[in-house]
């Protein structure tokens, strides 16, 4: 498959370059910060999508990895380890945490899994609130990955780098056997086992990958805002936000989480006053609407539309079917 000749490839490259150049179009630091958050959460959405969209496992505990990344960066730096190495180590620790969570939680199916992930996330939050080393409820100061007058621009570029990385990973996964295995697990775990897929191991692998990226995002985010408390980086709120971003945009698609983040966080900014007081209400309404009317999300819905128009099965293949399974 000649990638270089593929127009989609070039479209994405150009889009990425423009995206990276956004700071030059923007007038102040606040707007840069908004762009930073949108880009970062797009990366988080992509990372979540590996587990939630491709493998179909509704994880509502991703805040755990986000928070471990943040706290890890702070704590490792306190041990006089250079910032960038601390960043990497924090992500590694988050991956180990993911291994524990995954091994226990993936043995559970359906709603039990979601419950377990919530439980783990909350346990971590409560523990961080009660331990001294993590600063308790007062929190910790974060080391700065970037300093100087243009530090927001640098953070922004780092977030672009992260989203490109996340995108690449999702892209490669979706084109690989591993990706197909995840999708098989999503559709039917028994069938997946029957074709030789080691379902617990695959699910775990997707979670580890997802956790690593999420932790990098968490550390980056925390460093940009310079100060963390358990309630800012370990809440269920973050877990839900990441999952909505992926679902709203289209779980299991490549562009979905990106569009979802732009939409969700973008509209948060636009409707800032209403959202500030009732952003959970908006989330709730969004979730209800998405579940009721477009469970594939925006990108997924569009894909289905194109598919229906281009390829409707012939009469011989579809006599009086009762409709798609949904």
């Amino acid at each position: 498959m000649s990638l270089i000749k593929n127009w989609k490839f070039w479209a994405l490259v150009i889009a990425a370059l423009i995206w990276a150049r956004m700071p030059w179009f923007v007038s102040n630091n606040y707007q840069l910060q908004v762009l930073f958050r949108i880009t970062l959460f797009a990366a988080l959405g992509l990372a979540w999508d590996l587990v939630g969209g491709y493998a179909g496992q509704l994880s509502l505990g991703h805040a755990a990895f986000f928070g471990v990344g943040a706290y890890g960066l702070a704590l490792f730096t306190q041990l006089s380890i250079p910032v960038w190495i601390s960043l990497f180590l924090a992500a590694v620790v988050a991956t180990l945490v993911a291994a524990v969570i995954g091994i226990i939680s993936f043995r559970l199916r359906g709603p039990y899994f979601a419950l377990a992930t919530i439980a783990f996330g909350e346990v971590l939050r409560l523990v961080a609130t009660n331990l001294n080393v993590t600063g308790g409820a007062i929190g910790l100061t974060m080391p700065s990955l970037f300093t100087g007058r243009t530090f927001w621009r640098q953070f922004y570029l780092a977030s672009v780098a992260l989203v490109v990385l996340a995108f690449l990973i999702n892209f490669l996964v979706s084109r690989s056997r591993f990706g197909y295995y995840l999708m098989a697990i999503r559709e039917d775990e028994d069938t997946a086992s029957a074709v030789g897929i080691n379902t617990p191991r695959c699910k775990l692998q997707s979670l580890l990958l997802s956790a690593f990226i999420t932790a990098l995002g968490g550390a980056l985010y925390a460093s940009a805002f310079q100060f963390i408390v358990p309630d800012s980086v370990l809440t269920l709120d973050i877990s839900i936000q990441v999952s909505i971003i992926a679902m709203l945009g289209g779980a299991g698609t490549l562009l979905g989480p990106i569009i979802g983040s732009a939409l969700l966080l973008g509209s948060q900014e636009v409707f800032k006053n209403q959202f500030q007081e009732s952003h959970l209400l908006i989330y709730g309404v969004l979730i209800v609407i998405v579940v009721l009317f477009m469970p594939e999300g925006i990108v997924g819905g569009l894909q289905q539309l194109f598919r229906k128009r281009a390829k409707s099965p012939s009469a011989s293949a579809q006599p009086a079917t009762s409709g798609a399974a949904q």
Partner: protein
């Protein structure tokens, strides 16, 4: 005189709570055979399939596949050893296309997408389903889904394939067409264990041997023509009154 049997069950028992769904069942099967397990609804056929493919484990007895003890193996490992299966209630991967469904099977032997596509297309050809490759599994009628189950299992290049109720729900002509294909599987090196509730033309036509289960126990074994006339078998299906008909 023959090589070791490809599949062997020795005194296998499986209980659910107090109920013995499979009672001391023993059977032997040679390579290249087409064996059918028949029995009324609830006789334990699907449980036997689940036991062989690793979705359930026997409480007593052992199961040998190519002389290897697979009694405690998880399903994905039995699959990798060469046991393919279809499910009684079809389980297609609904959000994926027909081709993608089959590719999941092909992936057992290759990591390469292109190769998986090629292998899958061959299988779809064999099953006369190529024209359906790009359609989502969710939109297919039952007959196609049954073939898809088989295609997916075949793509894993199994040595033994378990076909549970593979012709149920099909019209007679669809069933016979499918049966003709199944008859050819041993040519591809695949031995077949089929499971059906009713002894139909299909079984008579293609089975080399038949085993009859009733309430979890094996009550008869032999060539189809003989088994159908056995009093125990008739009684199992129609009740004790009809046993007299054969006396």
């Amino acid at each position: 005189m023959t090589a070791a049997p490809i599949l062997e069950l020795r005194d296998v028992t499986r209980r659910f709570g107090g109920l013995r769904a499979v009672k001391n069942v023993s059977l032997t099967m040679n390579e290249g055979e087409i064996l059918f397990i028949i029995g009324p609804n609830g006789a334990g056929k699907t449980t036997v399939f689940n036991l062989i493919s690793g979705f359930l484990h026997p409480n007593e007895g052992i199961i040998l596949f190519q002389n290897q003890d697979i009694s405690r193996m998880p399903p994905h490992r039995s699959a990798r050893l060469g046991i393919g299966r279809t499910f009684q209630i079809v389980k297609p991967l609904r959000g994926l296309t027909v081709l993608q469904n089959v590719m999941l099977g092909a992936f057992m032997h290759t990591r390469n997408l292109q190769k998986a596509v090629e292998e899958s297309k061959k299988i779809l050809d064999f099953l006369q389903m190529s024209h359906l490759s790009k359609f989502l599994a969710s939109g297919l009628p039952l007959a196609a889904l049954k073939r898809l189950e088989i295609a997916r299992a075949l793509a894993t290049k199994p040595k033994l394939v378990l076909l549970d109720e593979v012709v149920s729900g099909l019209t007679t002509s669809e069933a016979l067409a499918l049966a003709a294909l199944i008859k050819r599987l041993p040519e591809w090196g695949v031995s077949v264990v089929g499971g059906v509730e009713h002894v139909m033309q299909v079984v008579m036509k293609i089975a080399d041997r038949v085993i009859v289960l009733d309430y979890g126990a094996k009550i008869a074994e032999g060539v189809p023509a003989d088994v159908v006339k056995m009093p125990e078998v008739i009684e199992a299906y129609l009740g004790p009154k009809f046993r007299e008909l054969t006396q």
